[in-house]
């Protein structure tokens, strides 16, 4: 696909957005989301397979030779944004945001086709520290033969996953291993957790003698995992933009229609200005998220910095907009029946996954402030001029 100028969507990308939006409206309205989040496995495998097989939006940036569509990361971000806007229930985080980018970076052909088709799903059982990878944190050990033992806490989308990508420390260092969850059912026990966000499930993965197939060895695992975490940061930011825009639209409509003191509450400046500030946050998040998607795709910026800018901006935006959405809605915003709570819980969850805004700001400080030059500092008057 031809490169386009940063921030300018192609006609194909606009069509893609419209197609995913139609699919989500049809397959993932609020009633469906509520039904799925209270059932097992927490999503509709048939709808997931349609996303992969019919719409082809699960592996948009996977090269054709690895079984993908051969598009760009921006394409994938567009699809993820729309699914995020609908709070689509499915293993997007584990499969699309992390496992697929890791397998692409590793050049692994074996698992990708089924993940891209949506006939299998995956989870990324790799602990991160604020969205970055530190080999010292790896809690699983591997023998020379790839036999894995150890526990990974709170792995998103792991309970229902067919494939687990596990970071483990072997005799030669940290590698990334693929575990077939069904084949290793007794050696890879998954304990589903009750999660704050019922639409994004987590499980504890306890490995005890499970056999893993090496996907990336000690010479490349760190690069592969870091790449996956950066792509995941950009895509998660796109999801956050989708959720935040949905809530802004919802809040604006409510403020136009809700009457108190004989007038729409949106005519009061206290409410109007809150909504204006929400708009600013959403626009900033959109810019940062899509800059990261473009830059990670074409190498036009430091990937670590672009990913941290996106996450630091989008996490605060979505969480802040979700907070204000409840406030603008008043009492109904706090009820179980109203949808604000579902998005609020997703916003809180997304903000903590792959590094908090604070952790990413810490990384930005290291990358930007620690290397800054004192040249051009403003003159400070001393009172003796």
């Amino acid at each position: 696909m031809a490169d386009s100028a940063e921030f300018v969507f192609s006609d194909e990308q606009r069509e893609l957005r419209a197609a995913v939006r139609r699919f989500a409206a049809d397959q993932s309205d609020e009633q469906v989301v509520r039904r799925l989040m209270e059932s097992d496995p927490g999503f509709d495998p048939k709808a997931w397979a349609r996303l992969g097989g019919e719409l082809g939006v699960l592996g948009l940036s996977v090269p054709e030779e690895l079984g993908g569509v051969g598009g760009t990361l921006v394409d994938q971000a567009v699809a993820v944004e729309e699914l995020g806007a609908a709070l689509f229930c499915g293993p997007l985080f584990g499969t699309v945001m992390l496992a697929i980018p890791a397998l692409v970076a590793a050049g692994d052909e074996q698992l990708l086709p089924a993940l891209v088709e949506g006939t299998r799903t995956a989870a990324f059982a790799v602990g991160d520290r604020g969205g970055a990878f530190d080999p010292a944190d790896v809690s699983v050990r591997a023998t020379a033969d790839g036999v894995l033992s150890g526990t990974v806490e709170r792995v998103v989308d792991a309970a229902a996953a067919d494939d687990l990508l596990v970071a483990a420390t072997g005799p030669d260092g940290v590698g990334l291993y693929a575990v077939d969850a069904a084949a290793a059912a007794t050696q890879a026990r998954r304990t589903q957790l009750t999660t704050l966000d019922s639409t994004r499930r987590q499980a504890t993965v306890a490995l005890d003698g499970a056999v893993g197939r090496p996907v990336a060895g000690p010479d490349s695992a760190q690069r592969v995992i870091t790449h996956a975490l950066q792509v995941g940061a950009a895509l998660l930011a796109a999801e956050q933009v989708g959720g935040a825009q949905h809530l802004l639209d919802l809040s604006v409509e409510y403020a136009k229609g809700r009457l108190q003191f004989g007038r729409p509450i949106g005519s009061f400046q206290a409410v109007k200005h809150t909504l204006a500030d929400m708009l600013v946050e959403v626009e900033h998040a959109r810019s940062a998220a899509y800059h990261a998607a473009w830059a990670l795709g074409d190498g036009s910026d430091d990937p670590a910095l672009a990913a941290s800018i996106a996450q630091a901006t989008a996490s605060r935006a979505f969480a802040g907009v979700a907070t204000d959405t409840i406030q603008v809605h008043g009492g109904i915003g706090f009820t179980w029946e109203y949808q604000a709570q579902l998005y609020y819980k997703r916003a809180v969850t997304d903000a903590a996954l792959l590094g908090s805004a604070e952790q990413h700001r810490g990384r930005i400080a290291r990358l930007v402030l620690d290397t800054a030059s004192a040249d051009g500092a403003p003159w400070v008057a001393t009172g003796t001029e």
């Binding site: 300018v8 604006v252 109007k272 930005i364 800054a372 403003p378």
Partner: protein
């Protein structure tokens, strides 16, 4: 859409001008008069009025060639002239002779222009202004006080909005004029700011007389004409982007780097937040600019002034807090006449004090949030106490 032929025509004209009038040699007025005559002052204006009648987007073609040859940036020399007066004169001045008479010296910057809109009693509510213009034969007699007028002390001409019908509702009783700032009855006084300096003026109009020929648009149609001026002020999207870390945030980052002994984790996070917000806004401006090339900016174009103003303040508040007591000194409160081209920003402390105006000038942050809420998000307007009332019956104070 622009054609290749138009683009070539503009480029050829620009090359010709810099060849015939080397901008590094000839005086700036002479060079800029030549760009006017060549139709490069505003390429989308008609021929003979400083343009070539080609699409506005081609201005960048000419500007790039001229600036690469060492030519001046005329907007910076006559900002209100280029940014606001020129489009208003082109659209509303009564005759082509008058348009040419005003536009050529405006373009050459021999005639600086200023704008007499705001008043002590009409800031955010500009349409409530009180300066009166009363018809007297072929002339109008103007009385009132204007404020926050930049460049009034150097201006030859002013754009004036005055009330000609106090019995009409406030937007309907206004008329737009061009005033000779050197004529009798026009007095300019510097308006000293909290920085000690005076970037702005107050202008007192006492029986100042304006020929009716210098009226722009119909009597009572001044608000609509003023919208031409103000829309042009807001739609001046730059042709090139800014670098990461440039602008006001650069002051804070360089100061931070120059004073490692003052670093604390709390201050570091505060600065990182400011850097991040600057960067998010920079990317948003880039996005706005990119989208403007393919059809027009969306809501992202409206947030820049609001965010930029608040960021400026927070950046300088950070710098002051970083330095602590060391920053509690000042260079000089003596009011000086700023020289043309002088860096008026001064030392850090002056920049800090100056930034207080950022959330007020050019639209207060409160008004900008109303604009975002009403024009971008489509929220209902606030209840108005002056709706439909004759201007003279609206409470003021």
């Amino acid at each position: 859409m622009s054609t290749v032929a138009d683009s070539t025509r503009v480029a050829d004209a620009a090359h010709q001008v810099v060849r015939d009038h080397d901008p590094t040699e000839v005086p700036v007025h002479e060079f800029l008069a030549a760009t006017f005559d060549a139709g490069l002052a505003w390429v989308h204006f008609p021929e003979g009025l400083g343009g070539l009648g080609v699409p506005r987007g081609l201005q960048a073609v000419s500007d790039t060639i001229i600036q690469d040859a060492g030519g001046p940036v005329p907007f910076s020399l006559n900002p209100i002239g280029y940014g606001m007066a020129a489009p208003t004169l082109r659209e509303h001045a009564g005759t082509d002779e008058l348009k040419r008479e005003w536009l050529r010296p405006l373009a050459s910057t021999e005639h600086i222009w200023c704008q007499l809109f705001s008043e002590p009693g009409a800031g955010s509510d500009l349409a409530g202004l009180a300066t009166s213009a009363v018809r007297d034969g072929d002339e109008w007699v103007v009385n009132g006080q204007k404020v926050w007028t930049s460049l009034a002390h150097r201006a030859r001409w002013a754009l004036l909005l005055a009330r000609t019908d106090p019995d009409a509702p406030k937007h309907k009783g206004l008329t737009y004029f061009v005033v000779d700032m050197t004529g009798p009855g026009v007095e300019t006084r510097p308006l000293r700011q909290m920085t000690g300096q005076a970037e702005f003026n107050e202008v007192y109009l006492e029986n100042a007389r304006i020929p009716d020929a210098h009226r722009l648009g119909a009597v009572g149609d001044g608000w609509r004409v003023a919208m031409t001026t103000l829309m042009n002020e807001r739609s001046s999207i730059g042709s090139s982007g800014s670098r990461r870390g440039s602008g006001t945030i650069a002051d804070a980052v360089a100061l931070w780097a120059s004073r490692p002994e003052l670093h604390t984790p709390v201050l570091e996070d505060r600065l990182t937040r400011l850097w991040l917000r600057s960067e998010a806004q920079r990317l948003t401006s880039e996005r706005s600019r990119a989208l403007a090339t393919v059809g027009g900016p969306g809501p992202e174009g409206s947030v820049g002034k609001l965010v930029g103003a608040e960021l400026n303040q927070h950046v300088y508040e950070f710098c002051m807090d970083l330095l602590g007591p060391e920053a509690l000194t000042y260079h000089d409160y003596t009011m000086r006449d700023l020289q043309r081209g002088e860096d008026y920003r001064g030392p850090l402390q002056q920049r800090f004090l100056r930034s207080r105006a950022n959330t007020i000038e050019g639209g207060t942050s409160e008004v900008l949030r109303n604009i975002l809420g009403e024009r971008v998000l489509g929220l209902p307007g606030d209840l108005r106490a002056d709706s439909g009332k004759a201007w003279k019956d609206i409470p003021r104070g």
